[in-house]
Subunit: 299 residues, 2 copies
């Protein structure tokens, strides 16, 4: 784990000379550039252009077959499993132009995270010329990742139950603050456009508590809340709970104070990029809820 930040690949006059003299052990001197991603590494390995001696070949094969072990393990563990010395792994990494194993291992870790190289380390990104564009792409990635995750362990039963509750309600109260507010805004608008009567509890004029004070047991609450759960939303939902309304919730973890107040809740985890969080998944799920309610009422 000791990633050093020493500058490595400046071919000084001396190193060039040395390289020439000893017929260069490093690929860099052969015109190769060090792979920046796991895929690039794989491509190089499979190209067959490089011929390794026994132990290094052993390493290459192991990396190829057990990438996750490399990502998760320490150098000692990996070396052990591959049947070589730790130093052999370091040599291998250095042949590809990395400062050492830690540096090399980041390829495998990044691959597993499936996300961008987490702007840790001091390496600049030469591929993306424009910083703003890079952020845009990152944001798009975060949105798509959030959307993609909806499928994993999606609780269909809860989803259906939520639709039932909302469809059966006399009046739907839509509650959410801060980051959740854009979501509730859109849900409320869409509900209204579809002819489903609803109240958006927006706390304009600080009247939210009075509004929820009108809730009856025949009503339902659609609450949206994300961590950190320090907004007014839990308080409002608590009131609704006391007044015996049905409560359905979209939130991002079981630790949401709303989870225990709700009749049914659905977990939707949004990804962020550089601290800016996506809302795509919550909006999609919310829209689907609205659609389901409309379908059930009219069908």
């Amino acid at each position: 784990m000791s990633g050093r930040n020493n500058a490595v690949d400046e071919p000084s006059a001396h190193s060039l000379e040395t390289a020439a003299r000893k017929r260069s052990r490093s690929l860099a001197a052969l015109g190769y550039t060090k792979p920046q991603t796991y895929e690039e590494l794989r491509a190089v390995l499979s190209s067959g252009t490089v011929h390794f001696p026994k132990r290094l070949r052993q390493v290459a094969i192991f990396l190829w077959q057990h990438p996750s072990e490399v990502a998760l393990g320490t150098i000692a563990q990996v070396a052990d499993q591959a049947g070589v010395q730790p130093s052999t792994l370091v040599r291998f990494a250095q042949i590809f132009g990395y400062s050492g194993f830690s540096d090399f291992q980041l390829l495998f870790k990044d691959r597993m995270k499936g996300s961008w190289p987490e702007t840790q380390g001091s390496q600049e990104r030469p591929a993306e010329p424009n910083a703003n564009l890079h952020f845009l792409n990152g944001m798009i990635g975060a949105c798509q990742a959030s959307l993609g995750r909806i499928g994993n362990g999606f609780d269909i039963d809860s989803f259906e139950t939520m639709i039932d509750h909302l469809a059966a309600a006399e009046l739907i109260y839509v509650i959410g603050s801060k980051r959740a507010f854009p979501v509730t805004t859109y849900l409320s608008l869409t509900l209204s456009q579809q002819g489903v009567r609803n109240v958006l509890v927006d706390n304009v004029g600080s009247t939210a508590l009075d509004q929820v004070g009108c809730i009856t047991p025949r009503d339902a609450v659609l609450a949206v809340s994300f961590s950190p759960y320090n907004s007014i939303t839990p308080d409002l939902v608590a009131v609704a709970h006391e007044r015996k309304a049905r409560i359905v919730t979209i939130t991002d973890s079981t630790f949401s104070p709303l989870a225990k107040l709700s009749d049914t809740w659905l977990e939707v985890v949004e990804q962020d990029f550089g601290g800016f969080r996506s809302l795509a998944a919550s909006l999609a799920v919310g829209m689907a809820l609205v659609h389901g309610v409309v379908a059930q009422r009219t069908g």
Copy 2:
């Protein structure tokens, strides 16, 4: 990464005594057994039986939402991302009966090793029997399509110019109604959180016209508008235009009345599914704008 192999859980006479004396902070003494797998841990966390103080709750939420970061990172990296001290992570692990973070981290690593190789292929979506689920998938598809289209013919120059205008403004007015309102809400919130002063023109109390009446030539307007363009937004932007403010716009066609009023505008086309329209692309682009403005102002 320092996984110790010290035998841990032999409850010596002394440790039992100690535990009893200080009313035991660990769950083990409460009859819990330490979770052996990631799923068990998740179950315990979600059971809601454990009540954590602030920082520990923060940890729990982070673990819940970013398991892969925990598996791949060092304690310092994880702590940093979760916004707590490294020692807090150790405490957390110890509450569950582990000797320390390394031990605890093995849960996450094991779970990653198991889940990666198998379930990553292209699994087909088994013809959705459920109508509601079908709609959800359609909605997700619409969002992803919208996001995917951003790349095609994206006008980088306009994008940059918009950032310039907004960054140079004394005060930013954010305007958008109906479907665009969720977008402007989120943009305004994020701007404020980043320390960029802005006014969200929400027309509460029908004061929008009066608000834009205060615009000066040193201000900028960030307008968002989609077809049909029958909202109040064009009127408001027209006023801003008369008052000589810089106007930048996100809209969905050249026919938008805002196009001709704007100094710069960007086309973002959202796809819809069954009449329910995505906002994902607009949000992503909007976030990127905000990020750019912040970067330019602070950089």
